[in-house]
């Protein structure tokens, strides 16, 4: 009896904008076997896998995985823990600063294993994959093959019933690739019943699968066993079978690669590397490499991941100055500053490094211009490249939206746009489908043979290496052998180049092949993955802790960020505490004295004697006054009219004119009050001298009591206000990049594929920042009391509780931005805009909220800072406790869940 299919697609369609990625796909994938998706780049293989894993949002049709409808979030959450998904791209879902052990551990905890069980599984899996000796190495420092193995361990930690692998061996060297498939076979042997679905561009790998689906143009062409496909098409290789399945017009465009011998030119040397070495600290990446490549030669570079190929190539382009030795290009020393050499070389790096924000066509045009191609010819050249690399259809698309294979073609097109004399290509065909790869090689051969372009290429495909004029085998920084491919194989008596390569590796001096320990039958899990039930399905504290732990580790590994957050707060507190002074002193003024009598001078002296005013030289004329006020030299100008002294003596009404610089209204208002006060003071003095005292001064004394801050110390008022300001801006900035950063760097995929809910994810991210911010809070409070000598008169517990609620709200504000923005730049800008202005202007730092008006007032009423400011001032200056401040706690406490819910609603659980 046939078991039910593990995945069933029914009429599934998917479109990005106007482009149909999948058109009405119906497919049943048999359970318990090794199934493969094959087909050229950009035909929808990845989209189909992403839909099956629940990563991408479904648009039309119906998908059942392990018997559950994937369009229903409830079922998806239930079936999620039984699926494991490994996305395309080397180590895209790993956390580079975390070690191998920590990476796997994170996934283990996410799926609810206990510590002991997780440790046991890590042990088994890393021994099986040969990663055991590297448990403590950061994932970012692993070679490509090791990254893929680590990805596999992370995917397998929770015993999935369905393993979905999207091009898992792309960019992985032959030896590691072989080990990878052996490992999968061992795991399948130990865990019968597990289904594996793989998308791959390697036909020789696909030939070993149980069942295949061939795809093209978003549709399924045929399904069946590899043998079956070959039989129905009447071909003897899978490559040929696939070509036969393609529609006629596509098939016709394919021709086999023909290599014709290189015409011997005058034999000048294009690349000459002598004793080239590169050391990073103790580690020797490249060890005394000697190379010589003739003009027009195709020179291949093969070797395992991390053997120094990329480093050698970078030294050849001048990107990396060698520690020892020299490189000569076209007979002259490589000089990184020599722009002329750069024009003669085209370089394509291993990692995709074109502008993701520019379309395919814009990228090509930009590079043409940067290489200073003559402007009239650019459009034609771009067209030529678009058609030569079959990119015309996607010319207006962004590279990010393209499958790996098409992106690689674009990178190569860019490297060729300026007709370089030499091409340095670092694994240019990784992830490119066989048909396109052949097309690619026809171009390379044409360039080499017809145009005399020298090509230096590294590759993991042995059939490509065989097409080179000469190859070098590189291993652990050393060149093991160099020669024509056939000669190399013959030399060691191997049948193929691949065998020769592996022979060299295994006999290499000092090389220990890390043999994977096969999985023993008892390695089968002792406890099944716990599938959370009931409320835990929606909120599992374990999963939240797992995310919190990982975020905390990343923070811990970045001491600069921690130091900036904590020390930065202290520095800012000093700067702001001392810098912001709301007393106005030293107001500059000058007098235009038309009178020049004793009384008029007495009036001026009265002002000059005050600590608030500083007198500048007298004003000579109205023009002088105008000029000096415009220049901002004086803030106050007084005009004493002619006959002032006489009029005062006779008791005739007289008026003094005062002009105040209104450019800064707050300052002007204070100056106004001062002048009025000084004027009254002078009047009083004159009256007393003149014997009017009784009539002038009323018998009222106003006794002003400045409460909470009797000396009106600006510092005492500012320090409690600066704490809320700092505890908003820094925590919000810390958390605002946390989610969007994962979106930009790709590890957000782990959130899409694991059963983590949005709330768990966000709270998990938030916890470490709340803890860090509470640390800042403690330090700021201690600084305030000790260094600034601002007494904490009220309850510390109340202040601390307020601070806890407040930093939770502050980090939640950051999360809201992180949830809905798409770039880190936007998240950062948005957070800064929407925290700085409210914190400074709307929440009572300078003016009380009750005095504000308009929209700022509305914000001030609800903004958490306003309420925490009341709490901070209350506890610091007013000797208050919780009961007195309850009114401020209510809105503060309410803002926390409100903000978190907003962030949850804005965050998407699936890719669109």
């Amino acid at each position: 009896m046939m078991p039910p299919p593990v995945i069933r697609f029914e009429g599934v369609g998917l479109r990005y904008g106007k482009v149909h990625a999948l058109g009405d796909v119906s497919l049943d994938m048999p359970a318990g076997c090794m199934a493969g998706l094959i087909g050229p780049d950009g035909v929808g293989k990845s989209s189909l896998l992403a839909l099956a894993a629940g990563v991408r949002r479904m648009q039309t049709g119906r998908i059942e995985v392990l018997g559950c409808d994937m369009s229903r979030p409830g079922y998806r959450a239930k079936v999620g823990p039984r699926i494991a998904y490994m996305p395309q791209g080397l180590g895209r879902n790993l956390y580079p600063t975390l070690s191998v052990r920590e990476n796997i551990d994170f996934f283990g905890r996410l799926f609810g294993h206990g510590a002991a069980e997780t440790a046991r599984r890590i042990d088994t899996l890393t021994r099986a994959t040969g990663l055991y000796p590297f448990l403590d190495r950061p994932a970012g420092k692993l070679s490509g093959g090791m990254k893929q193995k680590l990805g596999l361990c992370s995917a397998l930690i929770h015993d999935p019933d369905l393993l979905i692998l999207d091009e898992p061996t792309t960019g992985v060297d032959p030896l590691s690739r072989r080990e990878f498939w052996e490992l999968i076979a061992a795991i399948r042997a130990a865990r019968s019943g597990m289904s594996v679905l793989v998308a791959t561009a390697y036909m020789e790998e696909a030939a070993r699968f149980d069942w295949l689906a061939a795809m093209d143009g978003g549709r399924i062409l045929a399904t069946g066993s590899p043998q079956g496909l070959m039989e129905t098409t009447g071909t003897d290789t899978l490559d040929a079978a696939f070509l036969r399945l393609l529609p006629d017009e596509k098939r016709r465009s394919h021709r086999d690669v023909e290599i014709f011998p290189r015409r011997e030119r005058d034999g000048d040397t294009a690349i000459e590397a002598r004793e080239l070495s590169m050391r990073f600290g103790d580690f020797t990446a490249v060890d005394r490499v000697q190379l010589s490549v003739k003009r027009g030669e195709i020179f291949g570079f093969i070797g395992s991941n991390g053997c120094g190929k990329t480093t050698t190539m970078k030294m050849m382009t001048g990107l990396l100055p060698p520690t020892e030795g020299s490189v000569r290009l076209f007979g002259s020393q490589v000089d990184p500053r020599d722009l002329a050499t750069r024009r003669r070389v085209g370089y394509m790096s291993q990692s995709f490094s074109l502008y993701a924000e520019l379309t395919v066509e814009q990228n090509l045009t930009l590079h043409a211009r940067l290489f200073a191609l003559p402007e009239p010819g650019i459009a034609a050249r771009v067209e030529e490249m678009l058609s030569r690399f079959d990119l015309a259809e996607v010319r207006h698309k962004l590279p990010e939206r393209l499958p790996l294979g098409l992106r690689q073609r674009l990178s190569l097109a860019v490297a060729l746009i300026h007709r370089p004399e030499m091409l340095i290509l670092d694994e240019p065909t990784s992830g490119v489908d066989p048909v396109a790869r052949d097309a690619f090689w026809r171009i390379l051969i044409e360039l080499s043979r017809d145009e005399g372009v020298t090509i230096f290429i590294s590759t993991h495909f042995m059939n490509e290496a065989e097409r080179c004029d000469r190859v070098s085998l590189m291993h652990e920084g050393k060149v093991l052998a160099t020669g024509a491919p056939a000669a190399l194989a013959k030399e060691v008596g191997a049948a193929t180049l691949e065998d020769a390569f592996i022979h060299h590796l295994e006999t290499a001096d000092g090389h220990v092949v890390v043999r994977a320990t096969p999985l023993s039958p008892d390695a089968a899990p002792q406890s099944r993955t716990r599938v959370p039930r009931g409320w835990r399905r929606w909120f599992d504290p374990r999963r939240m802790t797992s995310h919190a732990w990982r975020e905390a580790l990343e923070l811990w590994r970045d001491p600069v960020r921690m130091t900036l957050a904590i020390l930065g707060s202290a520095v800012l507190m000093f700067v702001m505490g001392y810098g912001i002074n709301l007393d106005v002193e030293d107001v500059t003024f000058a007098v235009l004295d038309h009178d020049q009598t004793a009384i008029s001078r007495d009036y001026t002296m009265n002002l000059e004697g005050s600590r608030y005013f500083i007198e500048h030289p007298p004003i000579e004329s109205y023009a002088d006054m105008d000029r000096r006020m415009r220049a901002g030299e004086i803030s106050l100008a007084l005009e004493i009219p002619p006959g002032f002294g006489r009029d005062v003596a006779r008791g005739r009404p007289v008026a003094i004119g005062a002009w105040i610089d209104g450019a800064m209204p707050t300052l002007a208002g204070t100056v106004q009050a001062y002048v009025q006060g000084m004027h009254l003071h002078w009047l009083e003095l004159r009256a007393r001298d003149g014997g009017y005292a009784g009539a002038l001064a009323g018998p009222v004394t106003i006794e002003t009591r400045f409460r909470y801050n009797a000396d009106l110390r600006s510092l005492d008022a500012m320090v409690p206000a600066v704490i809320p300001l700092l505890l908003l801006l820094i925590p919000a900035m810390l958390s605002s990049l946390s989610v969007v950063r994962e979106k930009e760097l790709g590890s957000i995929i782990n959130f899409y594929v694991t059963p983590t809910t949005r709330l768990e994810f966000l709270l998990g991210k938030q916890i470490p920042y709340v803890v860090l911010s509470m640390g800042s809070f403690l330090m700021l409070t201690v600084l305030a009391v000790t260094v600034f000598d601002v007494p904490l008169t009220g309850s510390f517990a109340t202040l601390a509780l307020g601070a806890l609620l407040y930093v939770t709200a502050a980090t939640a504000i950051g999360l809201v931005f992180s949830a809905f923005t798409r770039s880190q730049t936007a998240a950062m800008f948005g957070t800064a805009v929407l925290t700085i202005l409210p914190a400074i202007s709307f929440t009572g730092l300078i003016d009380p909220v009750s005095a504000l008006q308009g929209f700022g007032r509305v914000i001030g009423e609800v903004y958490p800072t306003s309420h925490f400011l009341t709490i901070a001032r209350g506890t610091f200056s007013k000797a208050l406790g919780y009961d007195d401040l309850r009114a401020a706690f209510v809105p503060l406490a309410l803002s926390v869940p409100a903000l978190i819910v907003a962030a949850v609603l804005l965050l998407r659980k699936q890719e669109r």
Partner: protein
């Protein structure tokens, strides 16, 4: 140095920005609505100050005094019981509480000395200062007028005529709107230039650029001009549409002169952004540096509290910040109608600061590239 490289790399930066609709919306929001909100929220010097009156006298005079606290300076005063005064002040509901003792009017008329108690919440230091002065003057005037009517006393006839120049109504929105535009200019230029560089580094595109015939200087100038153009267009639009048209703030001086000052300021701040980016290894680090630099720039440049009242050390230190000079020249040009003859020292200072920041940024950028693997 090739100008076409600078041109095309700059266009590339603008295209990247155009691909981020959320960012564009945020920029428009910050330069329009947010400027308006920031400008109009600030109260007049003493606006709607909360005052409570504990009237134990309940006489015509005490009622007169209570009635004399009026909008816009004071919110209508509330009559409260003596027992509730402390609680209300503790909760921050009142900034001032005036206690008029029993028998106040009787004692005044009898010529006995009387004391009125004014309680001020000194944690609100701005209002505390000016407000208590106002209240004293108001109470004195009411009492004097009251006694004058009853006893016929005389005043010395020297009057003080106060006029505020450049902003006769002392309308805070005039000042606040322009300061808000300035803050946005600083923030946006640092973020755009710095983040663009870090983003390129995180994605490996800087390295890619270096295999091409492009120099670090060209890359930097391209970032400066493209960011600068975006920021200048946004600020010019904000000044024209929000400040002049929507808020109706009259601009005294030359907008062209102000925009040239803004261009110099943006040159300095974009260089600062690039410099900060070279000091940070990742975007989160850059975000923190941004806050640490931005906050002092905004708070201590003279845009929030007057420079004159800062300690001398801070005043001197802040001379190294481009914002300080930009705030000074903006105030001089926009409100006081100053010409280049007056603001040239600030222009010169901005050129110098920008030049130094640019040089440091370029040096750091070159070093960053040479150590990049």
């Amino acid at each position: 140095m090739r100008f076409s490289n600078i041109l095309h790399l700059g266009i590339k930066e603008m295209r990247s920005l155009a691909r981020d609709p959320v960012m564009l919306v945020l920029i428009v929001f910050a330069f329009t609505f947010w400027v308006h909100a920031g400008a109009t929220a600030m109260p007049e010097l003493l606006n709607r100050a909360q005052i409570a009156i504990v009237d134990e006298d309940r006489s015509p005079l005490s009622t007169r005094i209570a009635d004399s606290f009026q909008r816009p300076y004071f919110a209508p005063p509330e009559q409260i019981d003596p027992g509730r005064m402390d609680a209300r002040m503790d909760a921050g509901r009142d900034t001032f509480a005036l206690v008029i003792p029993a028998g106040f009017q009787r004692d005044i008329l009898a010529g006995h000395p009387v004391t009125i108690q004014l309680n001020v919440d000194a944690t609100r230091i701005t209002q505390a200062f000016t407000g208590s002065g106002y209240i004293q003057a108001i109470v004195m005037a009411e009492v004097r007028e009251f006694t004058a009517r009853h006893r016929g006393a005389v005043d010395l006839p020297v009057d003080l005529v106060l006029r505020a120049r450049f902003n006769p109504e002392l309308d805070n929105a005039w000042f606040g709107s322009v300061m808000q535009v300035i803050n946005n200019v600083t923030l946006l230029s640092i973020v755009l230039a710095g983040a663009a560089l870090i983003r390129e580094r995180e994605r490996g595109t800087v390295e890619h650029l270096l295999t091409m015939p492009v120099t670090p200087l060209e890359i930097m100038i391209a970032k400066v001009w493209s960011t600068g153009l975006v920021v200048l267009v946004a600020s010019a639009a904000s000044l024209g549409v929000v400040v002049q048209a929507w808020l109706g703030v009259p601009v005294e001086g030359s907008v062209v002169l102000f925009m040239s000052g803004a261009a110099l300021h943006v040159f300095a701040t974009t260089s600062l952004g690039i410099m900060l980016a070279t000091f940070s290894r990742s975007m989160p680090q850059f975000g923190l540096l941004l806050v640490l630099v931005l906050l002092p720039l905004e708070m201590l440049s003279g845009g929030v509290t007057p420079r004159e009242s800062m300690p001398a050390v801070v005043q001197t230190l802040m001379l190294a910040a481009p914002d300080t000079h930009f705030v000074i020249l903006a105030q001089a040009i926009l409100y006081r109608g100053a010409g280049i003859g007056i603001v040239w020292p600030q222009f010169l200072a901005l050129v110098a600061i920008g030049g130094v920041l640019f040089a440091i940024a370029l040096l750091r950028f070159r070093r960053m590239i040479s150590t990049m693997v």
